[in-house]
């Protein structure tokens, strides 16, 4: 039986109180902004609670709000989890804000093995580390690459060729 998105948000707010920093429902996508210290508990609750049963981690990605209008004083990064429940056919999205100088988050690999490669990709592209990850190496780029190219302060024209001319 599908649970309405606003009911899920209410349950999360009931269970975790102040650790849910805010909720929104834009275009029917129900989203909770979660405090960083509570992320492992919230994710485990979403997976294991009989009423939620979000057994599928559909996506784990990040956003860099460095130059985003209206977000100058908020946390620089946001890590985004998209969860889906196969038995209940409902979805929920979780967002966690992270500051640049302390971009570390608890790993979701113990809950969903698929998080392994998602978290490696986020480390590769954004330089956000996941504590407890079994093998946090670059996923797509090569080991010699310096920096994280999807950060907004990575220069668009910077090339790091392995062979051939360098600029």
């Amino acid at each position: 039986m599908a649970t309405d998105g606003s009911d899920i948000l209410a349950r999360l707010a009931d269970r975790f109180g102040a650790a849910i920093q805010g909720t929104e429902d834009r275009f029917g996508d129900h989203t909770a902004v979660v405090e960083r210290v509570a992320v492992a508990d919230v994710l485990a609750f979403c997976r294991d609670d009989p009423g939620l049963r979000c057994d599928l981690l559909m996506d784990l990605t990040a956003v860099d709000y460095l130059t985003y209008p209206g977000r100058e004083d908020g946390p620089r990064f946001e890590v985004v989890y998209h969860l889906y429940s196969v038995p209940h056919n409902h979805r929920i999205r979780l967002k966690i804000g992270l500051d640049e100088d302390d971009a570390v988050l608890a790993s979701a690999v113990p809950l969903w093995p698929i998080a392994n490669w998602f978290e490696r990709e986020v480390w590769d592209m954004f330089g956000i580390r996941f504590e407890g990850h079994p093998n946090l190496r670059r996923l797509l780029l090569y080991e010699e690459f310096r920096g994280h190219p999807l950060r907004k302060d990575y220069p668009v024209n910077r090339r790091q060729p392995l062979i051939g001319p360098r600029d």
Partner: protein, 152 residues
């Protein structure tokens, strides 16, 4: 043959003529241009007319390296190694804009033209190039092979 049963030629011209009609390609296919390469290779456009109907999937048996699709910086050493494994004489065709210039991938990941890694003989632009463009490029390559010009 006509009146007599012999023709006169030079060794270079005879070799060039033989080579241009026995192109053994190595298709280095990395991206979407591969679809257009397949269309060109199959019966409708019949690349066999130009003696290029038999791709060799070993660089050691190939004369022409077809680089078909975007080359990333991570892939560049692999491409260079494949090129080095080919025996001479050898030619390289850059197939599609990504191999010619990087195309619209002006970013951290993409090689801005494979001529920064290996010498290129023929550039076939297009995103992807139509089979007609590919055949045009192939005929230009044949002209180059016939007069024995190459850039290795």
């Amino acid at each position: 043959m006509g009146i007599g049963d012999f023709v006169t030629t030079t060794l270079d011209a005879a070799l060039g003529w033989a080579r241009k009609y026995s192109i053994f390609q190595y298709p280095f296919v990395t991206a979407c241009c591969g679809m257009e390469y397949m269309a060109t290779s199959c019966s409708h456009y019949d690349i066999d007319r130009f003696g290029a109907g038999l791709p060799r999937f070993s660089p050691r048996q190939a004369d022409v390296l077809f680089v078909v699709g975007t080359i990333s910086h991570k892939m560049a050493p692999v491409l260079r190694r494949i090129y080095d494994q080919m025996t001479e004489p050898k030619w390289v065709v850059a197939f599609g804009v990504c191999t010619c210039t990087g195309g619209f991938y002006d970013n951290y990941a993409t090689v801005q033209g494979i001529d920064t890694i290996v010498p290129v003989d023929i550039y076939i632009p297009g995103c992807p190039p139509r089979p007609e463009s590919v055949l045009d490029g192939l005929m230009k390559l044949q002209e180059k092979i016939a007069i024995g010009r190459q850039r290795y």
